[in-house]
């Protein structure tokens, strides 16, 4: 019996020792992690899968411009050049399971980051919210989190809906009027975030006959594996 318990006790001891070592080596590892993450994308880019290819960059630029135009149209105060303070941060790591869309970024309280700040892909495309803040890093909850729901608006008619997070975020509780169409812009309408930040566009509106509400998927202008994010201060 004693012999059987030895591995358990020793594993626990090593675990505690690991915690101690981890505590001191965190800044170095996080710096290396950000660098490694960027480096790992390089071979994929060479093979044509990379997100830094010319076409991909043009698509991103196009999506950013679309989001900026939408934001300017929805926010009357921002007529003209938009100059909002923001911090860009590298993505260190992602949450290990598929259930939660959490990102660890390399900006924290020392860069002015606070809990609840809005996180975007490019300054105008909504991604999520700062959930926890450390001195030099923070945890961001993204629209890929299955536990997250936020009110949104759709299209020029500003139709209300609820966005449910997940691997493929979707729209629910769209009042069936027939006015929500594929390709309509989906943008933020929650009081916690700036109004009019683009999330994506409506894809495949689905409605049960006899039901008052419709549902739809959201086509996102980016994928879940981001290298960099922008936090609105």
């Amino acid at each position: 019996m004693k012999r059987n318990l030895a591995p358990v006790v020793a594993t626990l001891f090593l675990f505690v020792a690991a915690l101690a070592v981890a505590e001191f080596s965190t800044p170095v590892r996080e710096y290396l992690a950000a660098g490694t993450r960027t480096t790992l994308h390089a071979p994929l880019a060479l093979l044509g899968f990379g997100r830094s290819s010319e076409t991909e960059q043009l698509l991103r630029e196009n999506a950013r411009l679309k989001a900026e135009v939408l934001f300017l149209a929805k926010e009357p105060r921002n007529t003209g050049t938009v100059a909002r303070p923001e911090v860009s941060a590298k993505v260190h790591s992602t949450y290990p399971t598929n259930s939660r869309g959490l990102l660890n970024i390399n900006a924290g309280s020392s860069e002015g980051i606070k809990k609840g700040m809005t996180v975007t892909v490019d300054g105008f495309t909504f991604l999520g919210v700062v959930e926890e803040v450390g001195e030099r890093s923070s945890i961001v909850r993204t629209i890929f989190d299955t536990d997250w729901q936020i009110p949104v608006k759709i299209g020029d008619g500003a139709h209300d809906a609820l966005m449910v997070g997940g691997r493929g975020p979707r729209l629910t509780l769209i009042v069936k009027t027939g006015n929500v169409l594929d390709g309509d812009d989906v943008y933020t309408a929650s009081k916690e975030f700036p109004y009019g930040l683009r999330i994506g566009e409506v894809k495949e509106v689905k409605g049960e006959p006899g039901s008052t509400f419709e549902e739809a998927d959201i086509k996102l202008p980016f994928d879940a594996t981001l290298d960099e994010v922008h936090i609105l201060l």
């Binding site: 290990p96 890929f144 879940a224």
Partner: protein
């Protein structure tokens, strides 16, 4: 032959694989169709059947744990992965078959147990994603198994209780 001590080549190879798995997993680049495999879990559960000495294996778990720590703290799944791996090490003599099939069985069970402990609601709401991840993890497990046989060695460390 004295099996892998912490200073052996086999252990070094295992540690290197754990570090690589940690980097690939946290980078999220292995996602297919938005589903990411749990590479670290798969690797630790595969290596269970390549290490007989508990000290070496516990050290591998410790390395994986160190690497997953961020300034904010530990993500609960990493703690769960460490605990599941340690448990599988303890019960491995009771696994039924050939090492290859044991790896597959451990990976399937480990993936599902991770969700049962960390996010049971997700398992109920989106079982399809979990199913895809199980399949993906098994495929990664087969690759890791073949890799481990080449890098870590072919000696059968595993013995059944019978």
């Amino acid at each position: 032959m004295r099996e892998s001590s912490i200073f052996s080549r086999r252990f070094a190879a295992g540690a290197l694989l754990v570090l690589l798995a940690g980097i690939i997993q946290s980078s999220g680049i292995a996602a297919v169709g938005g589903v990411r495999p749990n590479i670290l879990l798969v690797l630790l559960l595969t290596l269970v059947f390549f290490f007989r000495e508990w000290k070496s294996y516990a050290a591998l778990i410790a390395i994986a744990t160190i690497f997953s720590k961020t300034e904010i703290g530990f993500s609960s799944p990493y703690i769960v992965i460490a605990i599941i791996s340690a448990c599988v090490f303890l019960v491995k003599p009771h696994f039924p078959g050939h090492r290859f099939f044991n790896v597959i069985l451990a990976v399937i069970a480990g993936t599902i147990i991770t969700y049962v402990i960390t996010d049971l609601k997700f398992l109920g709401n989106d079982p399809f994603t979990v199913m895809i991840e199980v399949v993906y993890n098994v495929l990664v497990g087969i690759v890791v198994y073949l890799l481990a046989e080449r890098i870590i060695g072919n000696e059968t460390e595993f013995r059944t209780s019978r």
